[in-house]
């Protein structure tokens, strides 16, 4: 699903953020990319989500070489990827309308969007809070809504940038349980997080990133 080789990325002033990154994530995997702040996790996810143009190296996502995609194909690829950025913001709308907004903007009809929104909310366990304003939700429910918004158009890959930040230990466990449930349905997921990570199943991979280098798998 994800194949990264010899990836380098530097800032305009020459500071190297990612150096010779090699990464391979199989279809159907749930992987955790662990690293401290400024280790390059968010940048790597932004590159994988085709939100940031790459500089050097090869990135294959869903069988597409991101560096070679034109604008149109980049937009098409973004639709196949559910991307949850680090500081996601919910719209000042109801829970259901947050998801419906995205689906309608992607060209779905009202009825189709409502149907898909219900399915996504059922998956994350927010079906009983359809009409609640998104801003009034608890932190864990806001995360669930953000995940539901990311997966509502049935992407084949979900990239979550530090979704556990700011959550209580109980909420972190609940969030990981949700990600595991989604993964069990066949969704490939890559999650960035700071250590220590709450207990996860041994079958899930953890990848360490330090100063822009993948140190250990």
């Amino acid at each position: 699903m994800i194949q990264v080789s010899e990836l380098h990325f530097s800032t305009d002033d020459g500071f190297t953020v990612l150096e010779n990154v090699h990464l391979h994530i199989n279809r159907g995997e749930l992987a955790f990319l662990i690293g401290a702040s400024h280790a390059g996790k968010s940048l790597l996810l932004g590159l994988l989500a085709a939100q940031i143009p790459s500089q050097q190296g090869q990135i294959l996502v869903c069988g597409r070489n991101i560096a070679r995609l034109n604008k149109e194909k980049t937009f098409a690829l973004r639709r196949k990827i559910g991307f949850l950025p680090q500081h996601f913001t919910l719209l000042p709308k109801s829970v259901a309308d947050n998801i419906i907004f995205k689906l309608r903007a992607l060209g779905n009809s009202r009825e189709q969007s409502e149907e898909q929104a219900l399915t996504a909310l059922e998956t994350v366990g927010l079906i009983d809070k359809l009409s609640t304003p998104a801003t009034e939700l608890k932190a864990i429910d806001q995360l669930k809504l953000a995940i539901a918004t990311s997966i509502c158009n049935e992407p084949s890959l979900l990239l979550c940038d530090e979704p556990l930040g700011g959550l209580s230990p109980e909420d972190k466990s609940e969030a990981i349980a949700l990600l595991e449930r989604l993964n069990a349905r066949g969704l490939t997921i890559l999650v960035t997080a700071k250590s220590p990570l709450p207990p996860i199943r041994a079958s899930h991979r953890t990848i360490l990133i330090t100063d822009g280098r993948i140190k250990e798998e």
């Binding site: 939100q51 950025p85 913001t89 995205k102």
Partner: protein
């Protein structure tokens, strides 16, 4: 509903008080620009020519063989007609052409009634000839150079001020839509899909300003047609239906263009809404 209409409604729904006020000022500046532009066609006095007549006036040249009593009867008969607003007997000294005949000057209630009144008066016994004018002179006096320069300066100022206000208004609108735009980009919505509805809001402002101006021009036109004497020396273009129609038709693409320019300027600011 298409994605365009959906996003247009979403962006319009995001307009808050400050954004609304700025866009309203933008709309009013487009209106001012179009109003100044219209002045070039609608203002100006009717050119004095060798005719005695003003629009809406009819001159009756009476037969020289009529007695004083017959002239008076004819005068009273015409005065009582519904279409007649005013009737005057012209003395020889008032006639530039030095005609010796009895001449009556009739003013119709409105310009629209002139043709019918012309025909009715022509059939009266004792009337030798009828002359009338239903419309303003085609040529209008050019107004003063100072006024012309003033109008041009006004046009320039309204365009510049309009674009500055459009930029401020759309920047404010984009600030309130940042989260929406961010979500659209993350989910793979093309940049053009985001920009078109924003540009369309500018075009809508232009169309509203144009519609407002055309409505006002037509209200003034109907007033001018009913009172041609009051307008013929200052805004003779307002009396002529053709000029009013032409001005209105010219204002539509101009208003749309200026509104769209403001909208495109606003849409170009979406670059600053980076995630």
């Amino acid at each position: 509903m298409s994605v365009f209409l959906f996003l247009l409604c979403e962006f319009i729904g995001s307009i808050r008080a400050r954004t609304g006020v700025l866009l309203l000022y933008f709309l009013l500046l487009i209106f001012s620009f179009l109003a100044l532009f219209s002045c070039f066609f609608l203002l100006g006095a009717t050119e004095k020519d060798d005719q005695l007549l003003m629009p809406g006036e009819i001159t009756l040249y009476l037969s020289g063989q009529l007695s004083v009593q017959q002239v008076q009867d004819l005068y009273l008969n015409i005065r009582d007609m519904q279409e007649v607003r005013q009737i005057n007997y012209l003395f020889h000294q008032e006639l530039d052409k030095g005609l010796g005949a009895n001449v009556l000057l009739v003013r119709a209630v409105s310009i629209d009634m002139v043709p019918a009144l012309h025909s009715a008066l022509g059939q009266l016994e004792g009337v030798a000839r009828v002359e009338s004018r239903a419309s303003a002179n085609k040529t209008t006096l050019s107004f003063s150079t100072a006024l012309r320069i003033g109008l041009l300066v006004g046009l320039g100022i309204t365009v510049l001020a309009g674009l500055v206000l459009a930029r401020m208004g759309f920047a404010e609108l984009l600030r309130s839509c940042t989260n929406r735009i961010r979500l659209l980009r993350l989910s793979g919505t093309p940049e053009q899909t985001i920009r078109f509805p924003i540009a369309a809001i500018g075009a809508i402002c232009g169309l509203i300003a144009t519609a407002l101006l055309i409505a006002i021009i037509y209200v003034l036109h109907s007033f001018a047609v009913a009172n041609p004497q009051q307008f013929s020396s200052t805004a003779s273009g307002l009396i002529d239906t053709g000029t009013v129609l032409m001005t209105s038709l010219l204002c539509v693409p101009l208003g749309l263009l200026l509104g769209s320019l403001g909208g495109i300027l606003g849409a170009s600011l979406t670059e600053s809404c980076n995630s």
